[in-house]
């Protein structure tokens, strides 16, 4: 099989879903615009990419939505320093918090699912403290205009998102540290025995997921010029849906940034398309839930069938070999 067709086969389910979603959106709403509708949901793609990195490393970061809200709050609270500076500080705080989280998880050897339940509440509390319990606004509202320009046909927002996705893709597949994350997610004891540094891997993975959530949160806040203590809570569920619909496994060690991109595109087109038809937000939540359930069930049955086929083939081969042996025996 050529590498191109192998590539397509690998992402087949996601491609089919993307086409189904896209064509049904056009069928129901002829005025549907892909480009303009995806624009609003781009921060989600960045956050999904970060979450995907921890999942590839066999861990799970439940704190991404809190982290995004925190960075957004920091960005707005420090906007007096100029928006570029405050965005940078917001993102840096996310990366540092994420790295700290990864270090603590590795040091304690604790389940990240358990640990991040705690940090989910803790970082949300920090967001409340930064905001002072109220939603806060950027003083100079014209400062957000720098995000409204266009370079070629892409907005600064989509360029940032694409750069992050491509950068992470290269990092994961082409660098040693990136490939070590796959090893840690796929077969941890073997990886550690082979010399992969577990603690470094966790710091890197959670630094990336913290950083990506911070980029998403800061961009949302900088774009809207405001932040609220309870903001972005729904992002955890949506980002997780995007990652899982994209086909990244919770078991770890599998998945690429192409998965993230496809999953994000499917979710983004679906929710933007439904919003374009005038549906309320909860309708798109319903459809995302249904889609997620369909994808995991389909994935389960596909794997079930292929496993059964494989077993049957082995059994058949064994039976043939046995009968061949018998013939040889009789012949002698």
């Amino acid at each position: 099989m050529s590498s191109v067709s192998a590539w397509f086969k690998r992402y087949l389910l996601q491609f089919v879903l993307l086409i189904v979603v896209l064509s049904s959106m056009y069928a129901f709403n002829p005025q549907f615009h892909v480009e303009s509708s995806i624009e609003r949901i781009i921060p989600l793609g960045v956050m999904a990419a970060g979450l995907a990195v921890t999942m590839i490393a066999g861990e799970f970061d439940l704190s991404i939505a809190s982290m995004a809200a925190f960075s957004g709050a920091v960005t707005v609270a420090l906007s007096g320093l100029g928006l570029p500076v405050s965005v940078t500080i917001g993102i840096l705080s996310g990366i540092l918090l994420g790295m700290l989280q990864g270090w603590a998880i590795a040091k304690l050897g604790i389940s990240s699912l358990v640990f991040t339940v705690g940090t989910l509440i803790l970082i949300r509390g920090m967001t409340w403290l930064v905001c002072g319990g109220l939603s806060i606004r950027v003083d100079d509202i014209t400062a957000t205009d720098i995000f409204r320009g266009k370079i070629l046909f892409l907005s600064p927002l989509s360029i940032t998102a694409l750069a992050i996705l491509i950068g992470l893709g290269v990092f994961l597949s082409r660098t040693r540290w990136g490939r070590e994350l796959y090893a840690l997610g796929g077969a941890r004891p073997e990886a550690i025995a082979a010399g992969v540094r577990y603690k470094r891997g966790m710091v890197v993975a959670f630094g990336i997921s913290g950083g990506c959530s911070a980029v998403g949160g800061s961009l949302v806040s900088a774009l809207g010029g405001s932040a609220a203590p309870g903001a972005l809570e729904v992002m955890l569920v949506t980002a997780l849906s995007a990652v899982l619909v994209g086909g990244i496994s919770l078991a770890g060690g599998r998945g690429t940034m192409v998965n993230v991109f496809l999953g994000f595109s499917i979710i983004a087109i679906l929710s933007a398309g439904l919003a374009g038809m005038g549906a309320k937000a909860f309708v798109s939540v319903l459809f995302i839930g249904l889609l997620l359930l369909v994808v995991v069930l389909l994935d389960y049955f596909l794997r079930f069938v292929s496993e059964r086929d494989r077993r049957n083939r082995i059994r058949l081969a064994a039976a043939q070999a046995a009968s061949h042996e018998a013939k040889v025996f009789v012949g002698v």
């Binding site: 640990f115 509390g125 403290l129 899982l244 997620l292």
Partner: protein
């Protein structure tokens, strides 16, 4: 010769450490609660009063009932559900609707609990196939939330004309009914998980799935039972919550899922499964409610309160983890 003399001593030391850390782990939270109660009674003026303690127990009961129910899922090695809020709100809506249609809060409660259990069994079936609980419950939660919001058109569902608040306002010796139900539910769950076949199967499936399945324990059946326990908790808590508020909306109870998960984890049930108890989760919920109530009494605003709660949950989870590590070494 010297190594022979040393080895048993070292082993004995290790056994002593293991035993001590297990004892500490089992008794840490109850002792901590007692300490917090004593300190708060001395330092916070309005704390040691019947009303305050009643308020703490009442606040515990809703989260606590669900946490106790969810313990079976965690015990069976299926992590936890991320769709608590949606199911609870749906059951609450069913309670109010059926209550209005039939005029009887008993029929309404029964239908609401059955609705919750049916939804729970459906999720348990999918998880029993071998799919991840976190994904399934997340997807199910989104679907249930969407359906609830569409059915109610996103508006507040109110009980008009019929009185459905009986479950929340009924009192025996000045103590409201939800507290009795909470205690009773915890006791029954404890008995079922510790002293019945299905409870032992849940423990075993969580402790070692391969061994459990090789010994003839059905993953499907056991997982479904765990989800039945969970959704019974959801249904009962939803009825109590809906009769307390007398109204419900699809967007209500946003923090419930995380409160419940935090209660289970703080209580000391291992997320890997096989170890823990519904009583521990009930104590975890009680602890969180106590800390929150004290902060309310002292006058700490919501933001810092959330922050302190996060610190406490994180610290307890880490301490429990370290103790567990020492206990199994």
């Amino acid at each position: 010769m010297t190594t022979l003399d040393k080895a048993p001593l070292e082993l004995r030391d290790r056994a002593a450490v293991r035993k001590a850390s297990n004892t500490v782990r089992n008794w840490a939270l109850p002792i901590l609660i007692v300490l917090v109660f004593i300190i708060a009674s001395v330092t916070v003026p309005q704390f040691f009063q019947f009303e305050t303690i009643r308020a703490i127990l009442l606040a515990t009961s809703i989260t606590g009932i669900i946490a106790v129910g969810m313990t079976a899922i965690t015990l069976s090695g299926n992590l936890f559900s991320l769709g608590v809020t949606a199911s609870a709100v749906f059951s609450g809506v069913v309670y109010i609707w059926v209550g209005q249609a039939t005029g009887s809060m008993y029929v309404a409660a029964l239908v609401a609990i059955i609705a919750a259990v049916v939804i729970g069994i459906a999720q348990g079936f999918i998880v029993g196939l071998g799919l991840n609980t976190v994904i399934v419950t997340l997807a199910a939660g989104s679907i249930i939330y969407g359906v609830t919001a569409i059915l109610t058109k996103g508006e507040v569902v109110q009980a008009k004309g019929t009185s459905l608040e009986g479950f929340a306002t009924f009192q025996i010796m000045g103590i409201p009914l939800p507290i009795y139900i909470f205690v009773l539910f915890t006791a029954v769950s404890w008995f079922l998980t510790e002293h019945t076949l299905i409870g032992r199967n849940i423990h075993l499936l969580g402790a070692n799935e391969n061994t459990a399945r090789n010994s003839g324990i059905s993953r499907m059946r056991t997982t479904i039972w765990a989800f039945v326990s969970f959704s019974l908790g959801i249904g009962i808590a939803a009825v109590l919550q809906a009769s307390q508020m007398h109204q419900i909306q699809a967007d209500n109870l946003p923090g419930l899922t995380m409160d419940v998960v935090a209660a289970v984890l703080v209580g000391g049930t291992a997320v890997a499964g096989g170890e823990g108890s519904p009583v521990k989760s009930a104590i975890g919920a009680l602890f969180i409610a106590t800390i929150t109530q004290i902060m309310v009494l002292v006058g700490i605003p919501q933001g810092p309160r959330y922050f302190v709660l996060g610190v406490v949950v994180l610290a307890l989870v880490i301490v429990l983890h370290l103790l567990r590590k020492a206990g199994t070494r």
